[in-house]
C-alpha cells in the first residue's frame, strides 16, 4: 500500500496541490479501512488515535482522494455518504440490504456493456455511473421467517 501514498503524492503534485502530514495520516487511515466508512467515522478513528485533525481537513482530503480515484463515494438512501478505498479494486456496484444495512459488492459485465450502449444511443459521453440494488439479504429473510413463525405460535 506504500505506493498508494506515492501515487497520491504524484497526483497532488501534478495538480499543484501540496503534500502534508495531515494528508498522509488521513490516507493511511483510509487504507486501514477495508470496508465502507463515513467521513465522520474517519474523523473519530483519527481522534481516538490522538491525531487531532479537523473535520474540514478530513472532508477536504476525502474530496481529493475521490478526485484522484483512490476512493469512491457512495450515496445512501438516508442522504449520508459512505466512502470506500478502491486501491487496486475492480469496479463494482452494490446490493444494499434495507433491513440490516449490509452491502454486498458485485460486478456484472453485461450491465456495464448495456450502460455504454444506452449512453451511446443518447449521444452521451459517459463518465461514470451509480447502480444500487435495494432489497433484503438472505440473512434478514431468514430472520423474518423465524419471527413470523414464533408470532404464529404466540397467537
Amino acid at each position: 500500500m506504500e505506493n498508494v501514498i506515492v501515487k497520491f503524492k504524484d497526483f497532488l503534485k501534478s495538480h499543484n496541490f501540496l503534500w502534508s502530514k495531515e494528508r498522509e495520516i488521513i490516507t493511511e487511515q483510509v487504507i486501514d479501512n477495508d470496508y465502507h466508512f463515513t467521513a465522520d467515522d474517519l474523523f473519530i478513528q483519527l481522534n481516538q488515535k490522538g491525531k487531532n485533525i479537523s473535520r474540514a481537513t478530513v472532508y477536504r482530503t476525502l474530496d481529493l482522494l475521490e478526485k484522484s480515484h483512490f476512493v469512491s463515494r457512495i450515496q445512501m438512501q438516508s442522504g449520508k455518504h459512505l466512502y470506500e478505498h478502491i486501491f487496486g479494486h475492480e469496479h463494482h456496484d452494490h446490493l444494499i440490504c434495507q433491513e440490516c444495512g449490509k452491502i454486498i459488492e458485485f460486478q456484472c459485465e453485461g450491465i456495464e456493456e448495456l450502460q455504454k450502449k444506452v449512453a451511446l444511443e443518447n449521444n452521451f459521453r459517459m463518465t461514470g455511473h451509480c447502480l444500487k440494488i435495494y432489497g433484503i439479504c438472505s440473512d434478514c429473510q431468514k430472520k423474518k421467517e423465524t419471527k413470523n413463525e414464533s408470532e404464529r405460535e404466540g397467537e
Copy 2:
C-alpha cells in the same frame, strides 16, 4: 389527470389516511410539474400562487405520493432529492449531464433482467434499484468544442 386525484384519495382511504384541501392542492401542483422538481420548488410554486402551505406538509405529502407510487424520488450526487410524477409512466432510469444538469430518461429491459439475475445469485430479495449514468450530454459536448476552438483562436 382527474383520476390521479381519485386514485390517490383511494390510496389514502385504504391506508387510514385522510383527504385534505392541502393534499389536493399539492397533488395538483405535482401534476403541473412535467419535469423533475425539488420539494422546495413545489413549496415556492405554491407560495407564489398564494397557497400558504407549510414546508412540512409539502414534505409529508410528497412522502405519501411516493409511498403510493404516484411520485418517485431521485437522489442526486449533491445529496438533494428530486421528485417526478410517474402517473402512467413506465419505469425508467436516468442519464444525468454533469455540465447542465439535464436529465434524460431511458429504459433498458436488458439491464433490468441482469439486475434480477444478480439479486437472485446473491439470495437477495430485490425491492428496488437506482441506476444513474453520469456524463456529458451532446449539447454540452458541442459547447465545449466551440469554447476550445475560440480559445485556440485567442492564443
